[in-house]
Amino acid sequence: MKKYIPYIIIVILIIVSIVILLNLKISKKEYKNNYFSITYDTTWKKVSNKDGLLLEHKKTKSTLTIKTKELEDKYFSTKLSDRTEDIIYSIKEENKSYKEISSNTNDDGSISYLFESEDTNTLVRIYKQDNLLLIAYYEAKIEDFDAVLDSVDSALNTLKLTPGIKID
């Protein structure tokens, strides 16, 4: 048995090396449902696609969640900027231990809000196209937030909302 031990160790080392190399290589993955599509890098893993998409950052355990809601038809032409105060009010009601510290309108028309709790930061980005409302929120520990933010921004830059009915 002893004579096989070096071979077993070598095999284990090769497997471990392959696993490490595969993890080091950052590639892209795409997620698509009836309402949106997004491409994210493989530093994230998909945890759930129930009610949207939940990604977890492998190293820091930060999360990126994307959820959608179909609004009543009467909001079809409503501009997002005319309704964000109402939307953010609902969000704050649900997350009372978080402070709203900043907001910004982005070049793509989405609106971002930054929240802070005792030890986390959360970026909430709100999108609207036709009667589809999409909210993406990224939460990380304060020490991780800025380091992972670039990967979050890269993913959100690929986000495409696909409201309505697909026809061939």
Partner: protein, 524 residues
């Protein structure tokens, strides 16, 4: 052995401990008019508008929607012919079938004049009337002759042998509606008062009678107002309204909310160009999309309200409004139906038309326009039936005794205030001493550091840009970038809000996000 057991126990506890991150958004709890409900709950209940029966009926017709989808798929066929839609056509004998055949020919001719490309329907609206089913299919950003344009298909369906058949199809290109709006806008800008109807989709022959339009306008011009929101010294938001009593005006809640949201000051103009200040909010109903405002002066002429039930199908209806906040003009269209206070009309509207009156040919008001369906051949108004009892109540009160919430209080409660941001720093001095030398950042970046973190061999620094409204954050970095380049760093990526610099030892990501400058430094 004990050590191993402790390790396993600790590892298990670590694994099963719930993630400390707990921000959550339940989309079912997102209320798109939540702050409105909070704002209006303290208003005086004695002016409450009873809208219990308003908008209860949900109009859906899956069969009509399926036909509309099928026809829309066929409409982009190259060299389309009648054979392509023969299965959907209204074919029985008689004048109706002949008329339908002519209308379909015209529709096919127009489709063949253009190259249409789209792969998604953005919305379908079904309106039932005594004349059949009107379905409106909305396509945003279609390619029309290789140019991005919106398309609205209108399919008038009639029941035949227990199924719907296509009686009258119309394709409305974005340019058709734009031409209509440009035409009536120029009327207003030239100081004239007579507009027109959008004739591309019509259920009757809305002939233009200038004398009748002039009379209707003159009899009602003192009953309407334009409402404006001022920001940075200029008009930013505007819409329309009307007098329900002397000194009391009605407009849409959404217009008031836009003004509260974006603007610093609001005022009201009548058609004689008098300007009035808004004093109080008397009543509001967000579902019915209405707000009743008291002016500081008891001025204006109240409208005469009539019950919507008195309207007849395909009746010509009129609206008096200000589209450009310059003057007022009268336009007209066709009434289709009324579903529990939600009135559907063939009357294209723009956002600024919200709050304007809808009149019958006698000059009586039965509804007010909303911005629920704009830039379309059809539009949505709300019936004024629900305002009749409030009008009676207000007429019986002395102006000075009509109470309400001060508009300034309303405005103050609307605005969001931001909390103070926490400063964070977990970077040890010896680490900071190494990284701060790169680009001499303490000397070259003159912004406040809000967060400084070092973890997993990555240093991140978040600066707050307090000049944000006037200056892009990355413009404030020129000294830092010059210094990096002096130190031999090469720019390997450059976009509007992100740079990456590298040398043999370090990689530096510089990015702007939400008025923050973020610098991420790591060893290569």
């Amino acid at each position: 052995m004990k050590k191993v057991i402790y390790t396993i126990i600790l590892f298990t506890i670590f694994m099963i401990t719930p993630n400390a991150l707990s921000f959550n958004i339940d989309m079912d709890k997102i209320n798109i008019s939540s702050s409105a409900d909070e704002l209006t709950k303290d208003l005086d209940n004695s002016y409450k508008i009873d809208t219990t029966s308003f908008g209860k009926k949900v109009v859906e017709d899956k069969k009509a929607e399926e036909i509309a989808i099928a026809l829309t798929k066929i409409a982009k066929t190259k060299n389309i012919s009648k054979d392509d839609i023969i299965d959907y056509m209204f074919v029985s004998g008689g004048a109706s079938a002949i008329a339908s055949s002519i209308l379909v020919d015209s529709y096919i001719g127009e489709l063949n004049n253009h190259d249409l490309s789209y792969d998604r329907i953005n919305n379908i609206r079904v309106i039932k009337s005594d004349e059949g089913i009107l379905t409106f299919v909305y396509i945003s950003n279609a390619l029309v002759d290789n140019k991005k344009e919106d398309i609205v298909f209108t399919y008038w369906l009639k029941e035949q042998n227990k199924t719907y058949k296509l009686y009258y199809p119309v394709v409305n290109l974005g340019e058709d509606l734009e031409a209509y709006f440009n035409s009536i806008t120029s009327v207003e800008l030239q100081g004239n008062i007579i507009g027109e109807s959008y004739n591309k989709v019509s259920l009757n022959n809305n002939s233009k009678d200038d004398q009748k339009l002039t009379t209707l306008f003159n009899n009602n011009k003192n009953k309407v107002v334009s409402i404006s929101g001022l920001k940075d010294g200029g008009v930013d938001t505007f819409g329309n309204g009307f007098f329900i009593r002397k000194g009391i005006i009605v407009t849409t809640w959404t217009l008031l909310e836009d003004i509260l949201n974006k603007d610093e000051y609001m005022y009201v103009n009548d058609s004689n160009n008098n300007t009035y200040q808004v004093d109080k909010v008397i009543a509001a109903d967000t579902k019915y999309n209405v707000v009743i405002l008291k002016l500081k002066e008891e001025v204006g002429e109240p409208v005469t309200l009539i019950n919507t039930d008195s309207l007849t199908k395909n009746e010509t209806i009129y609206t008096i409004n200000s589209k450009e906040n310059v003057g007022f003009l009268i336009n007209y269209g066709t009434y289709i139906n009324n579903n529990d206070g939600i009135i559907n009309n063939l009357l294209p509207l723009k956002k600024a038309d919200q709050g304007s009156i809808l009149l019958n040919s006698e000059g009586n008001v039965f509804g007010f326009n909303t911005s629920d369906n704009i830039n379309s051949p059809e539009s949505i108004a709300h019936s004024t039936d629900y305002l009749m009892s409030l009008q009676e109540k207000l007429n019986n009160l002395d102006f000075s005794s009509i109470t309400g919430e001060e508009i300034t209080n309303f405005k103050n409660n609307y605005y969001v205030t931001y909390d103070e941001e926490k400063k964070f720093n977990n970077v040890k001095d010896n680490i900071w001493d190494v990284y701060k030398k790169i680009g001499k950042l303490e000397d070259t970046i003159n912004l406040d550091i809000i967060k400084k973190s070092y973890k997993n061999n990555i240093l991140t620094i978040r600066y707050k840009n307090n000049y944000t409204d006037s200056l892009n954050t990355l413009y404030l970095l020129s000294d830092y970038i010059d210094e990096l380049e002096n130190e031999g760093y090469k720019c390997t990526y450059n976009s509007l809000n992100k740079y990456i610099y590298k040398n043999d030892k370090y990689k530096i990501i510089i990015k702007e996000n939400m008025n923050y400058l973020i610098i991420i430094m790591m060893e290569v």
